[in-house]
Each structure stands twice: as structure tokens, then as C-alpha cells.
Symmetry: C2
Subunit: 189 residues, 2 copies
């Protein structure tokens, strides 16, 4: 998606450990107009599948998943990442290792909001090693819901997450795939 690639190119920053920052439009400040175009693009790419629910993980997936859910006119559910007083005891739960934070956290969805047979599109902002999305897949499987696809804004193509999902036969749509960071310069697929 050229509009997104242009915005990444003109505004990204690279931090230690090849962490790509796009805080100006996706991860801290949210450009709702751009996200709206991304929502349209996801709808175009998943137009042949029926979708009952959008699933994402807190925190950085929420804004893009909310807008994607508007385009598909379905509810969105975000997985919670820690024990919360507000989350019902009756939940699906899985452990996820975060490379950026170097720790394992729990990812949870209440059983009330993810049901057997529901057709789920997973949406997230970034796909790198794929641990967060694998966690969401675990929850979808635990619920006996049906995964129809995964859509991410930015895939780091030089990390293993994207290829692993494609090898599993998952319909993965990434709006921008970064294949290399050379001397701080991004190369897109």
C-alpha cells in the first residue's frame, strides 16, 4: 500500500535492536485518515471472506483494529495482556514472549466475546517475530473459532513471523513489508 509506505519512509525512526518507530501516525499519535485508508485496503484484500469479528491485542493494535472493524461492520475484541480486575475469570489465556520487552506475559480474552465457529480476522500494527499474533491464534483455536486471516499494517520481512504464518497456510495480508534496514534505510518488498 503505497500511501502507507510513503508515510513510513518520511516519518520512521529506527531504535536499538532494529525497532522501527512510527509514533507519528500509528503508535502514539494516530492519523485517523490514514488508518481509514488502511481499513479500506484490508476490506479490499479480505473481500471474499465472511468475517464475524476482528481480534487484536492491546495496546498498539486497538486503534487500527477499531477502524478496520468499522469497515467490516463487525465488533472488535482486544486481548488483554495482564491480569485485570475487570476481566471475567472465565477466559481463554496463553503465554506470549515479547522480544522487545524480553519477558513473558499473559494474553487473555473472555469466553463471552469469542465463540465457537465465529469467523475471525486478526489485525495488528506490526508483525516481526510473530509471537503476539501466535498468541492471538492460540486464543482463536482455544475458542474453536475459525481464523479467516491475519492483516498487519507493517511486516518486518527480515524476521520470521510472516514466513511462518504463510508456511502454515494462513492468509496473511501485510500493507507494507520491510525487507531490510541498511544503514538505517528501509527497503520495502
Amino acid at each position: 500500500m503505497d500511501l502507507l509506505k510513503e508515510r513510513i519512509k518520511s516519518e520512521y525512526k529506527v531504535k536499538e535492536g532494529n525497532v522501527i518507530k512510527v509514533d507519528s501516525f500509528l503508535n502514539h499519535q494516530i492519523d485517523v485518515e490514514l488508518l481509514n485508508e488502511m481499513g479500506k485496503e484490508f476490506q479490499r484484500r479480505f473481500k471474499d471472506v465472511e468475517i464475524d469479528k476482528i481480534v487484536t491485542a492491546e495496546t498498539s493494535g486497538i486503534a487500527i483494529a477499531t477502524i478496520v472493524a468499522q469497515h467490516f461492520r463487525v465488533p472488535m475484541v482486544y486481548a488483554r495482556k495482564r491480569e485485570s480486575q475487570n476481566l471475567s475469570e472465565d477466559k481463554y489465556s496463553t503465554d506470549v514472549y515479547s522480544y522487545t520487552q524480553n519477558k513473558t506475559y499473559k494474553m487473555m480474552i473472555s469466553k463471552e466475546y469469542l465463540k465457537e465457529g465465529e469467523r475471525v480476522l486478526i489485525i495488528d500494527d506490526f508483525l516481526a517475530n510473530g509471537r503476539a499474533i501466535s498468541g492471538l491464534l492460540d486464543l482463536v483455536h482455544e475458542a474453536k473459532a475459525t481464523l479467516v486471516g491475519v492483516g498487519v499494517a507493517i511486516e518486518k520481512g527480515f524476521q520470521v513471523g510472516g514466513q511462518a504464518l504463510r508456511d502454515e497456510g494462513v492468509k496473511l495480508e501485510s500493507l507494507a513489508i520491510i525487507d531490510e534496514i541498511v544503514d538505517g534505510e528501509l527497503r520495502f518488498r
Copy 2:
């Protein structure tokens, strides 16, 4: 806002410590159609003020603030609640005490995304003791931005946050105000 009150009435749960759960449409599962109506209502209530930016706090403010930002056609910024590898060092920061979690956390916005003179509408899902919104106000003041108002989905009118903001002269708009919880039953203002 009657549509919201009806949804609260038919789907709320009360947890220990008068914590009101509306996980089915606002805090875990997101009903984007309802949030869209709420966005329209905020736009109606703040139609006489100029707004440059919507500001909220992670996590539960993000979905509603994203949709409100669409209605005002301005960017949204969400304050972060912990030190993050991805957040620039150059930030506004304040300490916020959370009653529900019984701990103090840091709330931060990068200086890049909140500027002197910007007209800010703060949006959040809940207003109870008002600590989270006070934290956002601190950040707005620190940035020398201009607060034009505060909009919340649900105000717990039996806690002090709403009255304190009104006493300070803040234009506060709450879409639903719960004045009492009597035997688990809600009474709206």
C-alpha cells in the same frame, strides 16, 4: 445519551468496589457502531469549539478516542502509561494514582505530539475519581496546550472526579452519568 444508557442498563455488571464492567461494548469487546454514535454526540456537544487534537490514555480510552477523532477530523494522541523502549526521551510526564489498581504509574506523551497552543479535547471511557483525566490535564498544561474540554462516555457521578472538573470550570461532557448503584441497580442522572 439514551442509546448508551440503554446499553449500559442491559449489559453492565458490577464488580467489587463498585467497579462497573461494560466489557461487552466498550472495554474488551468494542461495538464500533455504538462508538460511532457516541462520536457524533461528542461532535454535537463540542460543535462550538475548535479542536486540533484528541488526547486520551492507554488502554481503554483508545477505541473511543480513535472514533471521536474521526468525527472531528483531527489526530489522536494516547498517553502511555509506562516506560517504553519506543517512546522518545523527550516527553511530558506525570504520576497518576490508580484506585482500581492501587498503585502509581507514569503517564507520558512525547513532546513531538503535543505542542504549545494546540486546542485539545480529552476523551476517555470512564470518569470516576478523575485521577487519569487529571494526569492528562497535567500533560496538556505542561505542553502549554489549550484544554477546550473533556468528554467521557460514562461518569460515575457518585465519585468526585466530575464535580472537581466542573468546579475548575472545565467544559465536561459525560454521555451517561451514573449517580447511584443501589443493590447492583444503576440510577442515572
